[in-house]
Amino acid sequence: MRLLRPATITDAVHHLNNDRDGSLLYAGGVEVALGLRSGALTCSSLIDTKRIAGSYGISAIGDEVRVGPATTHYMIASNPLIAAELPLLGEACGHLGTVRIRTQGTIGGNFAFAHPHTDPGTAAQLYSGFVDLISGSGPRSVSIEDFWTAPYTSACRRDEIIESIRLRPLGSGWIAVHERLETVHRPPTAIVCLAARIADEQMLECRIAVGAVPPHPLRLRSLEMSLAGAPVDDIDSVVAKAIPDVAQAVSAQSDLLGSADFKVAVLTGLIRRAADLAADRSRHATIEDRA
């Protein structure tokens, strides 16, 4: 096996095209090192993407925040621009796994691996934006909502490399909450990212992204519409009424983390809790504004 360390995205694409079936991209190596070690993964060449120019770092570009795919979860969680513009992404990266995973794992690797239990992927759904991909046939951008298609499957083809991840901040007036249920050293059972604009005890607008329970992170558009305009006192009843729709949208599967019914119950419970927390924070913000 050869190790290749391209310095440019063009070189990386060239290497990938020259050995399309036998090469493997890696950055942090969290999944790749273990896969190679166990024999679950094999390749004839290993392409290290960390040295590609622009693969690392966080910057504001226009009304978006660009995150280089080789940026570690730890760096995202501790970055001031992320804290200001994409706080939920920072929180999600700060909650992921353990500190050792966060210092080594990268957001590009997390996205490409397409684990259904992804915290950063769920947070990214909430913000919307694009994943920029590049191959020998040129660049293309895939919206975050279309990026994951099934467990461990993304829109990124074998001949493509993630060049950047661009996310759109929510702007002012939004309150964002990240909720999850996790048993130590197991993937999270359910992840909820919720953002809301609340005024005068009324939810004006709402975004809800869920992960871990569905086959891949997704937005609950129907529930978002039901909650928009609802008085905050009615949140519990609106969510309770939506449970059958949520269950259908997430297609929960029974596994070692729990039965499908249990997961839907946890997920909707977390949605209620996140919405209540957003309402509480809105009240505190109002009091602080008056003070």
Binding site: G29, Y74, A77, S78, N79, C93, V99, R100, I101
Partner: protein, 180 residues
């Protein structure tokens, strides 16, 4: 050395090292089998238990899940580089005093991860310690002693002069809202 081996150079416990490694060699294999730094323990070998924790550029990493080639141009610290043969660090002393170990197998990893925590956050709260240290398992169940040892070492060291508690590090690794 085979034709596919890669020559890397790095610093290991303060000393420069260079040599050839295969692309699939793990840092754990390099440290234990070639450099005989056996203080770094082989545990679960899937980045879950923390027994193999080392510091790479002061950050905790799983040597069992890191390719040796990725140590190129970086500073690696193992338990052998902590303190010295005749002296212990304040944290090591605190582990002894607070009985932060029973069988001791996980202790090198616990110490390395705790060292990284105290680098990032000089006076962590108990919740911050619990969150950070959940990366390391102790099958003997010495968690209370380990947490007390870290608190004790933190108190003994006091706040670093001119270096406030790192809010960014706290955001990155610590949850204040989670019960311990």
């Amino acid at each position: 050395m085979t034709t596919n081996d890669v020559t890397i150079q790095c610093t290991i416990n303060g000393e420069a090292w260079h040599g050839a490694v295969a692309p699939t060699d793990l840092l754990l294999d390099l440290l234990r089998d070639r450099l005989h730094l056996t203080g770094t323990k082989r545990g679960c070998e899937r980045m879950a238990c923390g027994a193999c924790t080392v510091l790479v550029d002061d950050m905790p990493m799983s040597a069992c899940g890191m390719l040796a080639v990725d140590a190129d141009c970086r500073n690696v610290a193992t338990i052998e580089g902590l303190g010295g043969s005749q002296s212990l660090t304040c944290l090591q002393e605190a582990f002894v005093t607070n009985v932060g170990a029973q069988c001791g197998y996980c202790t090198p990893g616990q110490l390395m991860n705790a060292t990284a925590l105290l680098h990032a956050c000089h006076q962590p709260t108990r919740q911050q310690i619990t969150e950070w240290m959940r990366a390391n398992l102790c099958r003997c169940g010495s968690y209370a002693g380990i947490i007390e040892a870290i608190e004790s070492a933190s108190r003994a060291a006091g706040p670093a002069s001119g270096t406030p508690v790192s809010q960014t590090a706290a955001r990155a690794g610590v949850r204040d809202d989670e019960p311990s």
